[in-house]
């Protein structure tokens, strides 16, 4: 079982308390009606599907109830870090420091 650190509870919790929430940092277009069908389809369905470092959302549904963001390696399943929703994504240099 994965152990995930919730940035709101500031504690390590078992995976069963969490729900996966898809890719993070996807901004909803400000004015959807101006988008073409193609652009709207890309917003709704097209994801990076990264092999390696992946920015994703999780929800601590059976804990504090909050959504937050995580950086996880999709190959090793290792979490590099988790951070509160609304914060900018960590830079590659910051992540490199956390991997050690």
């Amino acid at each position: 079982m994965l152990v995930i650190r919730c940035p709101y509870c500031e504690a390590e919790r078992p995976e069963v308390e969490f729900a996966y929430g898809g890719e993070a940092h996807i901004a909803r277009p400000a004015d959807p009606s101006t988008l073409t069908d193609e652009q709207w389809k890309d917003h709704l369905f097209i994801r990076t599907n990264a092999r390696g470092t992946h920015f994703e959302r999780w929800r601590h549904v059976h804990g504090c109830g909050r959504f937050f963001n995580a950086v996880r390696d999709t190959v090793s399943d290792k979490f590099v870090t988790t951070y509160k929703a609304g914060l900018p994504r960590p830079t590659e240099a910051e992540l490199e420091g956390m991997r050690k």
């Binding site: 709101y8 390590e12 919790r13 078992p14 995976e15 069963v16 504090c64 109830g65």
Partner: protein, 186 residues
């Protein structure tokens, strides 16, 4: 009161052998789910008559009242049955100036107390995180087997589980089976 008709109520599991363990349902009490602006917590503390904890996982308790902070703006409150009306009135007075949500969930939950040197062992059978590392006077929402509970570590060897009535039988059954295993040293 619905509480009285729930099957684990009034029942007890006692393991008195080498490792003492006692599991019982706790007396009925008033329970509230409170959502409140954390920046104005002092007002809620005054209304409830207990300084509410300001950090997720912290517990405050005195004279029959207990509060555990579950989320950034969410608290689970317990109070004696006789004081339910008073608590509701105190929060109602706050409402016009400080909008919040105070929901009576008294009948939604059953309280189960797990006490004894084997309490950790019994709970570990169905809770996936490191309860041992959780200090006394802390609490959190978590998963017991498949059921969502609120777990409070009241003292080193006494835990309180708050679980929805519909899941209480399931939790009780697992505790019963675990107690049997502890009794038989399996």
């Amino acid at each position: 009161m619905l509480h009285e008709f729930h099957s684990p109520v009034g029942r007890e599991i006692a393991v008195g052998k080498a490792i003492p363990l006692r599991i019982r349902t706790v007396d009925d009490c008033a329970r509230f789910s409170l959502r409140f602006d954390p920046a104005r917590l002092a007002e809620a503390s005054k209304a409830f008559g207990l300084a509410l904890p300001a950090k997720i996982g912290d517990v405050a308790a005195s004279s029959g009242r207990l509060a555990v902070q579950l989320g950034p703006d969410e608290w689970h409150l317990l109070a004696p049955l006789a004081e339910q009306g008073g608590v509701e009135r105190a929060f109602a007075e706050l409402y016009s100036a400080t909008p919040h949500s105070l929901v009576d969930v008294s009948h939604r939950e059953v309280g189960i107390e797990v006490e004894g040197t084997a309490a950790l062992l019994a709970l570990r059978s169905a809770i996936a995180f490191d309860i041992e590392a959780m200090p006394a006077g802390m609490g959190c929402r978590t998963i017991f087997d498949k059921a969502q509970i609120v777990l409070v570590r009241e003292t080193e060897e006494r835990f309180r589980i708050e679980v929805w009535r519909s899941f209480a039988d399931h939790v009780w059954g697992i505790l019963q089976a675990t107690s049997r295993e502890i009794e038989l040293d399996i």
